[in-house]
Amino acid sequence: MAFLLSEEHGLLRETAAQFFQDHMPVSHLRALRDAGEGEAFDGNLWKKMAELGFAGMMIPEDYGGTGFGALGMGLVFEEAGRRLSPSPLFATSCVSAEAVNHAGSEAQKKAHLPKIAAGERIFAPAFDEGARHAPYAVSCEARRGRGGFTLRGRKRFAPDGGAADWLIVSARTSGEKDDKRGITLFLFPSDARGVERVSLSMADSRGMADIQLEDVALGEDSVLGELDRGGEILSRVLDVSRIALASEMLGAARELFERILAHMKERRQFDQPIGSFQALKHRAAEMFCQIELGHSVVWDGLSALEEGRDDVAQMASLAKARMSEALRHITNEAVQLHGGMGMTDELDMGLFMKRARVQAQLYGDGRFHRARYARLGGF
């Protein structure tokens, strides 16, 4: 359990907070959105993040990374979450870096990890096939042929799918749909023949794409990890990613709550600050409870990763479920407590709310993780 920050981690948090505040405040996301068509993140800022070591935070130093460890990763995500900062931090440097580092061959690690750490290669994980997260419901088929595989099927809602240079795709090599066994991960360039990407315009203005695979021919060397064992790799990679998302959501929750409190102290009606009304005070105190519990589960989730504990799966589900529900509540309250202004695009409340729902759906919402927590607990 690492509930107390070391001096080193304190510094990292400060650096991250400063960076996102200076370079990627909420107005940055707003500007990208208002520019319309184009990238969902700023490539130059991503380079800057790489210089600070954020792009390689999950990558060992041997492969050009900074190896901040899980807690360091959580802190960076928390600060990014506060500003709704859009970048390849999640899809490339968390999900994909963890997948390559965890399951990749020596050649794959050497080929990709230093590029990720340097901010020179964007990845998109393409795991889901439906509107709701179901990691083992894989119909996309990889048929074995001479010298490799042929992929056919459709992956949906791949984060950064439009911008990615490379893709990590889960496909079925044996077994039935919904079997954990028989899934294999493939790593290949996004411009491979037969790949068609359709960028999706999502409510949160972040990049996402559907990916159509029409007989994509891949060599043996594009298999990531063991054949048919992609399900197990996915569990690990998804759990790390879920805890990272929960950290990001915790940051958003803290930021929103601070804004709500400031508003309650400043906004006056009936000749008094609205924060003096007991009905609102109690709602604020309730939110505070949610944030404190969220803090506990997110940090213990990060500790579980850091210490290599055997309850990482439980903690990932606990953290992701709790933060999904808590942030839904807090974003709703943020709009309501800001009154009519909360409904306007001028205030940021809507941006947080839209992002929160995408964050909740990504890799499993509260319902998904309650069912999983029950399964893991033997009931």
Binding site: M1, Q272, E292
Partner: protein
């Protein structure tokens, strides 16, 4: 390391085997002049622990404690947990009065009262609430008049836990009518004194853990005033902090030890299919509840860790509120799962645990009232932690 081995050896030699089994409620040891001993081993265990100071490990040795450091006390607790030793003595004196006497009491008061508390000789109860002073505790009216060599006390207290079994009561009394908070004093009263009477209150659960306590011209020696005259509110607030900590610690224990049972109840009463609770909606509810327990348990641990490091402990403020509400939700969920069988009142047609569920469900409703209502807790968070205006 040496201390751990010493404690282990002492426990091995001194904790009777029957004191290493789960404790039924009727074998709880609260001490006092009228203590009853259903199991003679309980008395032996309490006396041995008290002789060693282990009933109040953190108190100085000259006041009946063991004078342990926090680290040593933790080791003692761990070693007792390891052999599943029962607590040798449960006591409001140890949890609430003792800590404030150590802080605010004079030397004579500490010498007189602390050792008797630690040895389980005197059982204390709390005289705070009154019929007209609940959440607005400082509105209390039980008065103590200065009669030269003593105070004359008249009035009524309510919700005095186990007053009918207690020997002494620590009371908040009004010594100045012209001021609210600054007219309250903290007084220790022997319940054997003439004019003190108690009457148990029957609760919705059928049990009577609380009493009304009446004071009619009770003469209380002046040396029983703790801290300065009219400064009782300071003592009272500090004592409430100890009380809330004790309640949330206790609740933490319940949650960690009893939390595993929810899914078994669900399987028993709602059916099981391939190892899972058959009713999907119920399974979702049980999982949500267990996850909440898990998150609350982690928050307790975080608060302890932060407190030990002297860091910020804002999260402390949520423990009483959240713990109480969580426990109430727990019993409502048990009722939903067990259906009619959780609603039996008495008789052979129901199992002991079914009957206990009904009674404990009703008892749990008090969790969000006693020791500061949930509404007051939320007010405190809003004001003290969040800085929202009055």
């Amino acid at each position: 390391m040496a201390f751990r081995e010493e404690v282990r050896a002492w426990l091995e030699e001194n904790c009777p085997p029957s004191m290493r089994t789960p404790m039924p409620e009727e074998e709880q040891v609260w001490g006092g002049r009228r203590a009853e001993w259903r199991n003679p081993d309980s008395k032996i265990w309490m006396e041995r622990a008290a002789a060693k100071g282990f009933t109040a490990p953190l108190w100085p040795q000259n006041y009946g404690g063991a004078g342990l450091t926090k680290e040593e006390a933790k080791i003692l607790a761990q070693e007792m947990a390891r052999i599943r030793a029962r607590p040798p003595l449960l006591s409001f004196g140890i949890w609430m009065l003792g800590p404030v006497l150590l802080e605010f009491g004079n030397e004579a008061q500490k010498k007189e009262h602390l050792p008797k508390i630690a040895k389980g000789e005197i059982r204390w109860c709390q005289g705070y609430s009154e019929p007209g002073a609940g959440s607005d505790l400082a509105g209390l009216q039980t008065k103590a008049e200065d009669k030269g060599d003593h105070y004359l006390v008249n009035g009524q207290k309510i919700w005095t836990s186990y007053a009918d079994k207690a020997d002494w009561i620590f009371c908040l009394v009004r010594t100045d009518k012209s001021k609210k908070h600054d007219g309250i004093s903290f007084l220790l009263i022997d319940m054997d004194d003439k004019g003190v009477e108690t009457k148990p209150i029957r609760l919705i659960s059928g049990a009577s853990p609380f009493c009304e306590t009446f004071f009619a011209n009770v003469r209380v020696p002046k040396e029983n005033l703790v801290h300065d005259l009219h400064k009782g509110w300071t003592v009272a607030k500090r004592l409430l902090q100890y009380e809330r900590n004790a309640i949330s610690d206790f609740r933490g224990d319940i949650i960690t030890s009893g939390g595993g049972a929810m899914e078994d109840v669900a399987k028993d009463y709602c059916g099981e299919e391939k190892g899972a609770v058959a009713d999907g909606a119920m399974r979702d509810a049980v999982s949500a509840h267990k996850m909440e327990s898990h998150a609350f348990g982690l928050t307790l641990r975080r608060v302890q860790e932060e407190a030990k490091a002297g860091g910020p402990t804002a999260a402390t403020s949520i423990l009483k509120y959240f713990g109480a509400e969580h426990n109430k939700r727990r019993f409502e969920l048990l009722l939903e799962m067990m259906g009619m069988e959780a609603l039996g009142w008495e008789g052979q047609s129901f199992s002991d645990s079914q009957l206990a569920t009904a009674r404990n469900w009703l008892r749990s409703k008090g969790n969000s009232i006693e020791g500061g209502t949930s509404e007051i807790q939320l007010n405190v968070i809003a004001k003290r932690v969040l800085g929202l205006p009055d």
